[in-house]
């Protein structure tokens, strides 16, 4: 019996990992955001240390981040090629989520069928799948670890060994990403639920929550101290310029949630939250509810990026679905329709395929299509081979990391805005350079940032809605040095102010 369970899990894992790798290896390259981590991994491998002081990003700046994930990748990079490490490992980490979901779901439902079904669904949460398949995202490891932590918290009352597992995991998560704060909020809400519902709070559980709260707060204050000094509480929004803030931290809508999470997990999750707030009591469900409601609060008040929030939401709702599923099966068993149980399961499975697997595939296809193309990589390599090391390259916001990692040159802007005092101004200036019709407007700005080359790719043309640089006809000032799918202009003029 036990073996059958393992075989099913191995099959699901194989299917999820296989699908992920199928998509990941569709292209030899990565999503633009991945190149930040790739560069950090390369730097760790070469020097043993992360790149906190960078001369290339924003033509010189400091980074603030927790580098544990990059260290893990760098470690594997010692005996595996970097490309393989970055394709394979994040997908293995993310696929491991199915085991964790299985364990939690089994704890909640005591039903092997519900646990296996949930574990299968968790492998195809559209937003989690697409956002971690080819982006070397820290969330590929953070998410499974966070839910492992929840599993340990559920289990500590049964076996003391889970206390040590919990301590090690929370330290790793705190060293990996600031989103550990979400976990703390969830734990505190859980304690609140336990109080409100007059349930007995386990002493060890409370102690672990106190410890986690202090640890995560302290570690994040150490890492982000300078950012707090510079930006104050606006660190929460990562100093993202207002223009972009509405995109990253956009309002949660039901349609978004339906598409990114899937209709079955979402509806069953909402129903279960309602049921356990007003009708029933279950501490394990309260733990998940604490998570769901803290996410909801943070998303509602735009305190976390929409995608991050939805990734967490997706997994929580799958877990809540497991309870809904097992309750429904139990309910059907008690009715005259019990003989149609298999039809009910098949219907749910079909809806799941239409509503989770198909969106997952279409969303991932879109993400893979948006991955950097060979032509773009060639243009960056051309810059690497034909420009001076000190040259500053102008590219769109999305291409900032690529300029640093592939071309190994200085950029004007990229997506990491933390500690950048003039982020708003830079974003505006870059937009102006790409969109202005007047070279008298463009040249002073090019001079201001010492820009030597302007990169004009399809990506930047789409982003700024332009066909070419309007002022590029002046060959004295703008020499077209690379003209393929991507164009590269060399800026030759200086404008003196009098």
């Amino acid at each position: 019996m036990l073996k059958k369970e393992y075989i099913w899990l191995a099959l699901i894992f194989g299917l999820v990992l296989g699908t992920r790798l199928y998509f990941a290896f569709q292209t030899p390259y990565f999503s633009e955001d991945a190149y930040f981590n790739i560069r950090q991994v390369e730097h760790i491998r070469e020097t043993g240390l992360p790149l906190f002081k960078d001369d290339l990003s924003y033509s010189g700046r400091n980074f603030l981040f927790q580098p544990f994930f990059q260290y893990i990748l760098a470690f594997f990079n010692l005996f595996m090629p970097l490309n393989l490490v970055c394709k394979l490992l994040p997908n293995i980490f993310a696929s491991c989520l199915i085991f964790i979901v299985y364990l939690i779901a089994k704890e909640i439902t005591k039903s092997q069928g519900a646990a296996l079904f949930s574990s299968f669904i968790s492998g195809f949460i559209p937003i989690f799948f697409a956002e971690t398949v080819n982006s070397v995202s820290v969330f590929s490891l953070v998410i499974p670890l966070m839910f492992f932590l929840i599993y340990f918290l559920i289990k500590i009352n049964k076996d003391a060994k889970y206390i040590n597992h919990f301590i090690v995991s929370i330290i790793i998560i705190a060293l990996m990403h600031a989103s550990a704060f979400l976990l703390i909020m969830a734990f505190l809400l859980y304690v609140l639920f336990i109080k409100i519902e007059h349930l007995k709070q386990s002493r060890a559980e409370l102690e672990l929550i106190i410890f986690s709260t202090i640890l995560v707060t302290w570690l994040n204050f150490i890492v982000y101290k300078n950012a707090f000094l510079v930006h104050g509480q606006f660190v929460i929004w990562q100093n993202i310029p207002k223009e972009l803030l509405s995109q990253s931290f956009s309002q949660l809508s039901i349609l978004n949630a339906l598409f990114y999470i899937g209709i079955i997990p979402l509806i069953s999750g909402i129903y279960l939250i309602y049921k356990y707030i007003f009708k029933k009591k279950n501490r394990k469900i309260y733990l998940l509810m604490g998570f769901a409601l803290s996410e909801l609060f943070l998303l509602w008040f735009k305190l976390i990026p929409l995608k991050t929030g939805l990734i967490f939401f997706g997994v929580i709702f799958v877990l809540l679905f497991s309870k809904f599923y097992s309750d429904s099966i139990l309910f059907i068993d008690k009715t005259k329709f019990s003989k149609y149980k298999r039809i009910f399961i098949a219907v749910i499975f079909l809806i799941f395929i239409f509503n989770s697997i198909i969106p997952t595939i279409s969303y991932t296809n879109r993400v893979i299509k948006e991955t950097v193309s060979k032509n773009e990589i060639d243009s960056f390599l051309w810059l690497k081979n034909n420009s001076d090391e000190k040259d500053v390259i102008l590219a769109s916001l999305d291409e900032g990391y690529l300029i640093n990692t592939i071309a190994q040159r200085k950029n004007v802007i990229d997506k990491n805005f933390l500690l950048i005092k003039d982020a708003e101004q830079r974003l505006e200036d870059v937009k102006k350079i790409y969109t202005t019709h007047y070279e008298t407007e463009a040249i002073p700005l090019l001079n201001k940032y010492n820009i030597k080359y302007i990169l004009l790719s399809k990506r930047s043309m789409n982003y700024y809605d332009i066909a070419d640089l309007s002022y590029s006809t002046d060959e004295k000032c703008f020499e077209l040095v690379y003209n393929k799918e991507v164009k590269i202009y060399k800026s030759l003029c200086r404008m003196e102010e009098k």
């Binding site: 206390i163 106190i210 707060t217 302290w218 204050f221 101290k225």
Partner: protein
């Protein structure tokens, strides 16, 4: 470590001494013992003027504070520079001593007393209070002394207590409010004690209640008499700062409380709330201080004493809690200690490297010796006190400008000089304020005033018919305005 009445105080005083010594040592070894910040230079300058004139400052724009008299009196004997360092240091240590005695008087157990005092002496607000010449070190000590002496039944000490409170009241309206709140709290607490012990037919008031009532009456009269000192005309010109950055030292507040101190204090608040009737005194003080801190951010130096009590209470409670898992207890305590220490270390690091540094002093000393006397210097308002005190030159604007009658106009004009690229316009403004020299440093060029090179005045400096660069060293520039205005 066995804590006794004797060694607890010694340990705490030693800890305070070491924390402050670190700061003084860094300044001594790397900064030629230069005073920290801008405020200390303002007080030193006023005290110097009082000594020179042998009377109070008569200037209508001058905002009176008794601290200037204290600084001038001691400065007269040992020199202003030494007095500016010694007064906060001594009053800081004395405040710790009196606070210890108060806690003992309130029958706080020795372990808890030790933790409370330790949290206090490593708190950023206390470090500020005891290391930088400021107007709060004396009234904080006087208020604490007043509370301690008031709790004594000796009539002589009671009179001394009244003097201490009266003296503290002259330092500001908050001190008056605090003294009055303390008396009211005493009265309520005494009343509760009386009600809980006896049920008399007609009300009986204890000696402490009567004393508090008399004190309250006298302190109210003194506060009313001090009213003209409190209300100085002030035009709010500068934009309000972010509340977190004003309040939390880890977010950049100069007079702030560490984030872990706050977290512990919040925990302590909830733990003490269960016995709120017993701790009514501290809750009332907290309420009045938090309310006042929204109007006057310097109240934080008083608040840090109250927060230490709450934080210390929480710390001891957390430590003495029945922990099921010992390893979590040890790790949690370690993290709390690291968290508290982290705020202290980062604050010490920030304050000890604060401006002015040797280069600033060198440039201002140069200005003092190589420029014409009594000529007006223009700079950012936050640099005004340094120019006044070190270069001994008048300035167009300094950090007290909001108390001047034409505050808004002066501020707007200074902004216009900084940012305008119109030479004619700038020249006319320089002429308007008779400005002969312009002093700028790296901080101004790196975001305090200008974000970019060649912005505003930096661009106009290229006009050598109007401006002459007479000093340029380590990013500090002094420009002479040609055809200077007399």
């Amino acid at each position: 470590m066995k804590l006794t009445e004797k060694n607890t105080l010694v340990y705490v005083m030693l800890a305070a001494f070491i924390v402050l010594l670190i700061l003084y040592l860094v300044r001594f070894l790397f900064y030629n013992n230069i005073m920290i910040g801008e405020e200390s230079y303002y007080h030193a300058n006023i005290a110097r003027q009082i000594i020179e004139q042998k009377s109070l400052i008569q200037d209508l724009n001058y905002v009176f504070n008794p601290y200037h008299l204290v600084l001038a009196s001691i400065g007269y004997l040992i020199g202003i520079d030494l007095a500016s360092k010694l007064i906060p240091f001594l009053f800081g240590l004395l405040s710790v001593l009196v606070f210890y005695l108060i806690l003992r008087e309130f029958k706080i157990e020795i372990k808890q007393r030790f933790i409370i005092l330790l949290i206090l002496v490593i708190s950023p607000a206390f470090i500020y209070l005891s290391a930088i010449s400021n107007t709060h070190s004396v009234p904080v000590f006087l208020t604490l002394l007043g509370i301690y002496l008031f709790s004594k039944k000796n009539i002589f000490l009671t009179i001394l207590s009244l003097f201490a409170f009266a003296a503290a009241i002259s330092f500001g309206i908050f001190n008056a409010l605090l003294a009055i709140t303390i008396m009211i709290s005493y009265m309520i607490e005494e009343k509760q004690k009386e009600e809980s012990t006896t049920k008399p037919k007609k009300p009986v008031f204890s000696f402490q209640s009567k004393k508090a009532a008399v004190f309250l009456f006298i302190l109210l009269i003194i506060s009313v008499l001090c009213f003209p000192l409190y209300f100085q005309q002030k035009t709010k010109v500068l934009p309000a700062e972010n509340i977190l950055q004003d309040f939390i030292s880890d977010f950049g507040a100069l007079i702030g409380i560490g984030i872990f101190n706050i977290i512990l204090a919040i925990a302590g608040f909830f733990l003490m709330w269960k016995k709120k009737k017993e701790h009514l005194f501290i809750f009332l003080l907290l309420l009045i201080m938090i309310a006042s801190s929204f109007y006057e951010k310097n109240v934080i130096v008083y608040l840090t004493f109250v927060f230490s009590v709450f934080a210390g209470y929480a710390f001891v409670k957390i430590r003495d809690m029945q922990w099921e898992v010992n390893i979590i207890k040890n790790l949690t305590m370690l993290l709390i200690i690291c968290g508290l220490a982290f705020s202290t270390i980062s604050y010490l690091n920030r304050v000890s490297t604060m401006q002015p540094d040797n280069e600033v002093i060198k440039s201002l000393d140069w200005l003092k010796h190589y420029s014409e006397p009594n000529k007006i210097v223009f700079s950012h308002y936050s640099k005004g006190f340094w120019i006044n005190a070190i270069a001994e030159k008048p300035v167009m604007i300094d950090s007290m400008f909001e108390y001047y009658p034409d505050a808004k106009e002066k501020f707007n004009n200074s902004e216009e000089i900084f940012y305008s690229r119109n030479l004619k316009n700038t020249k006319s403004l320089l002429e308007k304020y008779n400005i002969n020299y312009i002093w700028i440093d790296n901080e101004m060029k790196q975001g305090l005033v200008w974000e970019k090179e060649q912005q505003g005045l930096l661009f106009l400096f290229r006009n050598n018919e109007t401006f002459n660069n007479i000093y340029n060293n380590q990013g500090i520039e002094i420009w002479e305005v040609k055809n200077g205005y007399n």
